[in-house]
């Protein structure tokens, strides 16, 4: 009897890590199936699927940046503002007639610099929590973006600048129709997520990011320069927001004052749905991707069914609470008592 219990327990214990790793993907698959059943003609059509990826393209960059920050048990509330400021700088530089590669690189540097400011503020100014520093820069960066642009939209970019957000990879050589193209932003998401997956899981710096989230004093005692790593993390988060700005520039062909408004909350929501822990040290790149996808599919599916955006808000909020509750239940089973 006891032997049998032990066996069952060990099977259960063996399953937990898989559930932890892939449970969120299961939810994603279920959602796709449900949407497919509800909208059989439209939802899985080429056009709609590429649409979903185009819609989540810039959010996925913000979410990935915020995810790294959350792994260190921090938070970045300023990503939406960083993206808006980077976008405005891009628009101004474009309007001034700079060559396309300058226009395309400028938001990346602007984002990196904004992230660096966050990182330096949190470490050097010894802010009691990253929430405060990035709440401050949420206002500062957006205010700056409005100051430099006069608070009005600036439109009209060249095709090169718009390539990442708007470009299409033609697939007619595969025998597909002209309308069945691959959005460049989809390829970009795949490449960026893969690079950051390698970075977080296989590089030494990535391992230290997880260690800091797990136990910052352990990391410090191990001789890890915690402040330096945090500065790198916030800078990379800003850099990803800069990529988001470049994508958004391509999608909308315009820099506008409301860009990325409240998108920091979407980014945080995607991380939480994807299984990242606010206490740090936990979560996967794949999970964040699933989190972004779940939010994107939910919005897309509800739009297809003509559900009002107010209901979308209610549903997304409910999913956040539900996802975390499932996580709490799982942890109750999984941890040693």
């Amino acid at each position: 009897m006891e032997e049998k219990d032990k066996k069952q327990e060990s099977l259960y214990v063996k399953l937990i890590p898989y559930f932890e790793k892939y449970g969120i993907l299961l939810l994603l698959v279920i959602m796709i199936l449900v949407m497919h059943i509800l909208q059989p003609d439209v939802f899985l059509s080429w056009r709609n699927v590429t649409n979903v990826f185009k819609q989540i393209s810039w959010q996925s960059m913000l979410a990935l940046g915020v995810f790294m920050v959350i792994v260190t048990a921090g938070i970045d509330l300023s990503v939406g503002s960083i993206m808006m400021l980077s976008l405005m700088i891009l628009a101004i530089v474009a309007k001034a007639g700079a060559p396309w590669f300058v226009v395309a690189l400028v938001p990346l540097f602007a984002g990196l610099l904004c992230g660096l400011i966050n990182g330096l503020g949190i470490t050097l100014l010894r802010m009691p929590h990253p929430f405060i520093m990035t709440l401050g820069t949420l206002y500062i960066f957006r205010g700056t973006g409005n100051l430099i642009s006069g608070g009005t939209p600036i439109s009209g970019f060249t095709d090169e600048v718009r390539y990442l957000g708007h470009g299409r990879i033609d697939l007619t050589w595969l025998g597909l129709e002209k309308s069945q193209y691959l959005p460049v932003s989809l390829v970009l998401i795949a490449v960026v997520y893969f690079v950051f997956w390698v970075f977080l899981n296989h590089s030494r710096t990535g391992k230290w990011i997880y260690a800091i989230g797990g136990n910052p004093s352990a990391a410090r005692a191990s001789g890890i320069n915690v402040n330096k790593i945090l500065i790198i993390v916030y800078s990379l988060c800003g850099f990803l927001s800069g990529i988001g700005a470049l994508i958004l520039a391509g999608r909308t062909d315009s820099g506008y004052p409301n860009a990325g408004l409240q998108s920091e909350l979407d980014a945080i929501a995607a991380c939480i749905i994807g299984g990242a822990s606010f206490f740090g040290g936990r979560g996967t790149v794949l999970g964040v991707f699933a989190g972004v996808m779940i939010m994107g599919i939910l919005r897309n599916g509800l739009n297809l069914m003509d559900v009002s955006s107010f209901w979308q808000q209610v549903l997304i909020g409910s999913i956040i609470v539900l996802a975390v509750y499932v996580d709490v239940l799982r942890r109750d089973f999984g941890t040693r008592k």
Binding site: H202, S203, R204, N215, S217, A219, A221, S222, I224
Partner: protein
């Protein structure tokens, strides 16, 4: 045995202020090769502060540290690690979300370098972990187990394994048995004896007289941040040491 063996670590006149509070005042300490020094004292006597000074986590306000006869200034725990001075913290300083092997080599992971990029060599980490745990006769299910899944004694063993993974010369342990079940205490004390026999100098901070009297060669007492008393273990008794802790000679 102590005075004839090589002097490994010496602290002279260590003083540490935190604002207006004097945590340590003119404290001296010595530890030799293969020797175990017990450091006792009441809460707030300055034991943990002294250990953090020795490990480079705090910089002393005054005083100097000598390692194998040479004066050393420790800017960070990294500096003390390079010298072969390792610390096992009371809160164990392990990252529960990482596996055993990655904790043991945290901050000093073997890497494969491609240009300036440093990728972790997971295979090597696993091999080195298994070899090291075998050497210390520490039993765990697998080096891939996360530390948060281990018992208190296993965690302590991992912390000690961590401190000795890189040919440590001096290992400082802060309350190594405080959080352990009784049956696990013996294993940790065995580990300390094993370290001593390989020539490592060990400093044990403990409240437990049983620990002090079963592994230490010498004992010193701190009282209100100062050196209060010191003796070879065979020249003193439990009652006397307990008296020192309370400030009585």
């Amino acid at each position: 045995m102590t005075s004839t063996n090589k002097l490994l670590l010496e602290a002279k006149g260590i003083t540490k202020y935190f604002g207006t509070i004097t945590a340590l005042e003119n404290v001296n300490l010595k530890v030799h090769e293969g020797e175990c020094l017990g450091v006792v004292g009441d809460n707030g006597a300055g034991k943990s502060t002294l250990m953090k000074v020795l490990s480079g986590l705090y910089k002393p306000s005054q005083g100097a540290l000598f390692f194998e006869g040479e004066e050393k200034v420790l800017e960070s725990p990294k500096d003390s690690q390079i010298l072969g001075l390792e610390m096992v913290y009371q809160d164990l300083a392990l990252a529960g979300n990482l596996p055993i092997g990655e904790n043991i080599f945290l901050g000093r992971e073997p890497t494969k370098n491609i240009g300036f990029l440093k990728f972790l060599d997971f295979k090597k980490i696993q091999e080195m972990t298994n070899a090291h745990l075998d050497k210390l006769k520490i039993n765990v299910k697998s080096a891939d187990q996360k530390v948060e899944e281990l018992s208190g004694g296993q965690r302590q063993a991992v912390a000690i394994a961590r401190s000795t993974a890189f040919n440590a010369k001096v290992v400082i342990m802060d309350e190594p048995t405080a959080a352990l079940a009784i049956k696990e205490v013996g294993k940790v004390l065995d580990l300390i004896n094993k370290l001593k026999s390989t020539g490592v100098g060990v400093i044990v901070i403990s409240h437990r007289m049983d620990d002090i009297f079963s592994v230490c060669d010498r004992v010193m007492a701190l009282f209100q941040g100062t050196n209060f008393a010191e003796a070879q273990l065979d020249k003193t008794s439990r009652d006397e040491v307990i008296g020192w802790i309370m400030g009585k000679k």
